[in-house]
Symmetry: C2
Subunit: 381 residues, 2 copies
């Protein structure tokens, strides 16, 4: 235990966003923070040493995936998730509410919990709020999420209202369930694209009281304007002394915008998923390594980048690896993309510390517009 | 350039084998040595830092693969193969003789060279002995191989005889072709399963004179007794002051047997290919990580092993990664298997140095027979 009990320290708050620090039983880290996604207990193509090298300070894993395979009992037997995957830093686990809706078949939401069939073998399961906490306790997560009812987008106002009511009930039961010493629990705000329902959900969760608050049910296909309007509605109400986590976001531009409205935590598959399709993030926009123009290009993906990939390999080599389907391609691309994301977060910390976020955001935008092969908008949705 | 011109130093020779040292423009290394295979300019799933970590001192790459993709011209433009793949140590390139026969369609062997269609896109190519040297010169190999005529197994005595004649002609032309300063050239002995033809091929190549001699056309499906009879026939004739390379071999047991008859260099896809099928080499035999018996086994693959994988991960985690098809599985398995091979080579160096090879081989055999989940014979063919 490098850290201690869970705590959040707000170091600075201003128009540009919030600078803070989260402490967990497995160490502390500055916020705003980006969490790479290791759904099945592995950030795709990367080992723990790679994550350390690119600057990862907290990981997200999925209770849904790990509960189904290898099974919570196995992870517990081997000494918990940190030991299992060889990662000694903080881990946040998602409860599975979102995955059950998006990945499994035949899910049925009832007041007691949610019934669903495994996407792996069709087996029938029932997860209650108490069970979700128990699974995350057995995994040994530093930060666990309550089970929420996350309807698909778009939801009608009646659907969204019912989801808020059930999410609040479940949040209460989650908070009352036994959990491990030092494990933090975050509530998840629902309410679809309806500001009034979002306000209600936020107030009801604050009434119960959590170590942190997540904004769920966004990034499901809605317009970006809706995303940020809803996120801002929620962050404006949340207590300043608790961390706010915008689930499933996003592109570098999304993160910059969300930091400005007071978000502290992010997770997204984008950097690792793009790595596997040959799309690299650079200071001047995204670069599609498959393009023929890079076939004999001896420059690194981003000449301004200090990651392992850019320090050692050319665009020509990375293109060759990708076209030849060499496994190394996915790792080198993922290392670069995560290094890019974590560097962005470090730059954000500095800008927040110096009170220069506005200027920093303008510089980021003009760099991308001025030099990029393709703007982020065009290639990354 | 860390090394200098190519040279081979025989340090000790005895009943157990030969202890030596090869020097190349990119550094020197002790022999017997095992070369991991990086056909397309990447040892599957591993970065250069991983290779350093597991103890690799020389790599094999395939001129055939690199000539077809990305193309020799691109590798040359980017600064040669070492720079291209970020590997600063010695590289041996195979000429393509074997790959043309085993991988390409419609190959046609003529006195001038060999015509074939690419296995990638069906395009027509002709490789002559001179062209094979030129390709390997452009790649910047430390050790290049002559183009040989390697008929499939089994070959009739007439076929084998013709292959020896052509291989000798081509070897002569290869030796006369211009090549880079400091680049070594090895001849390849052919002659199928016919000891008399093997003797003839060996004598003819020695007459021409090469920096080293390879034994080709083995490990093609023949009985192991034939392999070692032929290899011994050849090594008994070869000059003691040149390195001998047994192409495409083999299992740990094969390597031990071949070292005893005086072989200095090995290459094989086995450790990296087995890694991708979940088969791990250990001091007590092979271990199939997919087995249900390892589902909650918190021990590392080999408790006696000091590799990155065994120092950080359990059988349970490696089994989970493999079944979940996580890319990390292939890397961790490959690191373990190559570490095992390179450790075996270091143990062989020590046994040769101390004159205890006989005892060392007996210990290896009894360890495998006494403890293994499965004997190597049963699982690895």
């Amino acid at each position: 235990m490098k850290g201690g009990r869970f705590s959040f320290q707000l170091l600075k708050e201003g128009e540009g966003g919030r600078l803070g620090r989260i402490t967990t039983p497995h160490g502390s880290f500055p916020t705003p923070a980006f969490m790479p996604v290791g759904s099945q207990g592995s950030v795709k193509a990367l080992a723990p040493t790679d994550l350390q090298e690119v600057g990862t300070e907290i990981l997200l894993c999925n209770a849904y995936h790990l509960y189904l395979r290898p099974g919570t009992e196995i992870v517990r037997k081997v000494g918990g998730l940190h030991r299992f995957m060889g990662w000694e830093g903080p881990i946040l686990t998602d409860s599975g509410g979102f995955q059950i809706v998006s990945m499994s078949a035949l899910q049925k939401v009832e007041p007691e919990g949610v019934q669903f069939r495994s996407h792996l073998d069709g087996s029938l399961h029932c997860i209650t709020p108490e069970k979700a906490v128990q699974i995350q306790e057995e995994l040994g997560a530093d930060i666990m999420m309550t089970l929420d009812d996350c309807p698909p987008y778009p939801a009608s106002s009646d659907e969204a209202k019912a989801a808020v009511a059930l999410t609040t009930q479940w949040a209460k039961r989650s908070q009352e369930a036994k959990r491990g010493d030092g494990q933090a629990l975050f509530g998840i705000v629902q309410g679809g694209g309806y500001p009034e329902l979002r306000r209600q959900s936020t107030h009801e969760l604050m009434e119960i009281g959590f170590d942190g608050y997540a904004i769920g049910g966004l990034s499901l296909g809605e317009e970006k304007e809706v995303t940020f309007e809803i996120a801002q509605t929620v962050t404006a109400l949340l207590p300043t002394d608790s961390p706010r986590y915008l689930m499933g976001m996003g592109t570098p531009a999304d993160i910059l915008a969300a930091v400005r409205i007071g978000v502290d935590l992010f997770d997204c598959v984008l950097p690792t998923r793009c790595a596997r399709t040959g799309l690299l993030f650079t200071s001047s926009g995204t670069l599609n390594i498959k393009h023929a123009r890079y076939s004999s290009d001896s420059a690194p993906p981003d000449p301004d980048c200090g990651c392992y990939t850019c320090s050692n390999f050319s665009r020509a080599y990375l293109r060759h690896l990708f076209l030849a389907r060499e496994l190394l391609a996915y790792r080198l691309n993922a290392m670069h993309n995560l290094f890019y994301y974590h560097s962005l977060m470090r730059d954000i910390h500095q800008a927040l510390s110096e009170g220069t976020m506005g200027q920093f955001i303008r510089e980021c935008v003009s760099q991308r517009e001025g030099k990029g092969e393709n703007s982020e908008k065009k290639e990354v949705r």
